[in-house]
């Protein structure tokens, strides 16, 4: 499964560098033609970054799941970009992690992506 990510302060970038997955960073020109999982940071007071919003407006068709970076010091707004996207596009939250994430975060994320892959595969077979 392709993983598409956005990074502003380098935290998500460093999280991605720990993962043995196919990955692409969000740009204004990026158009997706295959299923993907999104990894985003959370900005402001728990908001979805603008670059991610406009990317999803163009590419929501293949979105299969979302993970979000954040900081628990923000209380209920921790990684809220993930919750917002999951609710808006009806996809599961794969994982939330703090800053650039730990080894356990990387493992949990990979496990979550694997589950999504399996359910996509089952859906393909059912069709």
């Amino acid at each position: 499964m392709m993983v598409v990510y956005a990074s502003k302060t380098g935290n998500v970038e460093r999280f991605m560098s720990k993962l043995p997955v196919r990955k692409m960073k969000i740009t204004n020109e990026l158009f997706m033609h295959e299923p993907f999982v999104l990894v985003t940071y959370t900005t402001g007071f728990g908001q979805v970054p603008t670059e991610v919003q406009s990317f999803l407006e163009r590419n929501d068709r293949y979105l299969r799941g979302v993970a979000a970076s954040g900081n628990q010091n923000w209380g209920t707004s921790y990684g809220k970009a993930g919750d917002t996207i999951a609710a808006q596009y009806q996809v599961p939250i794969v994982h939330k992690f703090e800053l650039s994430g730990t080894k356990q975060d990387a493992e949990k994320f990979l496990l979550g992506v694997e589950q999504i892959e399996q359910s996509c595969f089952q859906m393909d077979r059912a069709q």
Binding site: K8, T9, N73, G75, L99, S100
Partner: protein, 331 residues
């Protein structure tokens, strides 16, 4: 040749994160006087003498760190950073440190009498762990050499360690009791400070990472060794401080876990790998952070959920309900 003085030009952002961090910092602005601390008097009386002493000591320790950061750390780093916009963000952060330092006194003044408060400030002067960590950090700040990126890098690391790591032995207790519904207004102040320190750690951490990237591989290795050696020195001292403050109320073990967890986050802010094993942090503390503010009266109080107000003009329709009431009562 005459020196040319340059004015800060915000029309041309100097990089892609500077405006974001300026906006984040300024939209979080708050004042201690906007939080109704007097509401805490009721629950203050339910604390035991040991608990009151721990509460006041951690606030005293936090005051010292915020004083150092506002008076020395931020201004010294701002003086040596070249970019005008970066200087502006750092000086704004310095001003917030002064507000933090004052806010602890606002809490003190509300709950304790003058002689008890004086005792705490005296304790701060005599507590060896507090004095040691402040001296170590202060020495690094004052060692920044003109046009020397390595000593500036060290100061940035010290700054991130102070704000993202050393504060947390102190933050633990007010969060722990506000997580149980006690001293909730003071807890709000701590959460506002926590929010500010998180952003400061991100910004100074990014500045440190930029310098690190500019170093040669040998210098990077030296920098890395400095980071982990200094982290361990500070951690040993935090262990001693935690035992001194928290042994009397049996929370030492929990606080140490919280300190290690935040040390890892401080490392992430400067782009380094976590050093300590992952551990679960105390759920009551997490609850303290998550508890949303219950007081949203715009004019008297700001809670953690506070954001700067948006203004819209009054329209005739806004008074429709008043007119209706008048009509009803005259019928």
């Amino acid at each position: 040749m005459n020196k040319v003085y340059e004015a800060v030009n915000w029309d041309r952002p100097s990089n892609d994160y500077i405006e974001m961090l300026w906006n984040q910092n300024t939209s979080q602005f708050w004042l201690d006087t906007e939080i109704p601390v007097s509401k805490d008097l009721k629950t203050w009386d339910t604390l035991s003498d040991e608990e009151k002493l721990v509460f006041m000591r951690v606030l005293g320790g936090l005051t010292l760190l915020d004083t150092e950061q506002g008076n020395v750390g931020m201004p010294m780093i701002a003086m040596h950073v070249k970019d005008q916009q970066k200087k502006a963000v750092l000086i704004f952060q310095a001003a917030m440190e002064e507000i933090h330092a004052k806010s602890y006194s606002t809490i003190f003044t509300t709950v304790a009498d003058q002689s008890k408060i004086d005792n705490i400030f005296q304790w701060v002067k005599e507590e060896p762990h507090l004095q040691k960590k402040t001296k170590w950090i202060d020495d690094i700040y004052k060692n920044i050499q003109p046009n020397d990126d390595y000593s500036l890098y060290q100061a940035m690391v010290a700054s991130v360690f102070l704000e993202s790591f050393l504060f947390y032995s102190g933050f633990f207790y007010p969060l722990y009791i506000s997580g149980q519904g006690k001293m909730v207004a003071s807890g709000e102040i701590i959460k506002l400070i926590l929010r500010d320190e998180s952003v400061h750690g991100v910004f100074v951490g990014l500045l440190a990472q930029e310098l690190y990237q500019s170093f040669s591989p040998e210098k990077q290795q030296e920098a890395k060794e400095f980071v982990y050696t200094f982290l361990n020195t500070l951690y040993e001292n935090e262990v001693g401080y935690t035992e001194t403050v928290y042994d009397s109320i049996n929370l030492t073990h929990e606080v140490k876990k919280y300190v290690r967890y935040n040390a890892n986050k401080a490392l992430m802010n400067i782009g380094m790998e976590p050093h300590f094993e992952e551990e679960d942090i105390n759920p009551v503390v997490l609850n303290g952070i998550r508890t949303e503010t219950s007081t949203h009266d715009f004019f008297s109080t700001k809670g953690k959920g506070y954001q700067k107000g948006k203004v819209e003009p009054l329209r005739d329709e806004d008074f429709a309900f008043v007119n209706e009431l008048v009509e009803q009562s005259s019928n």
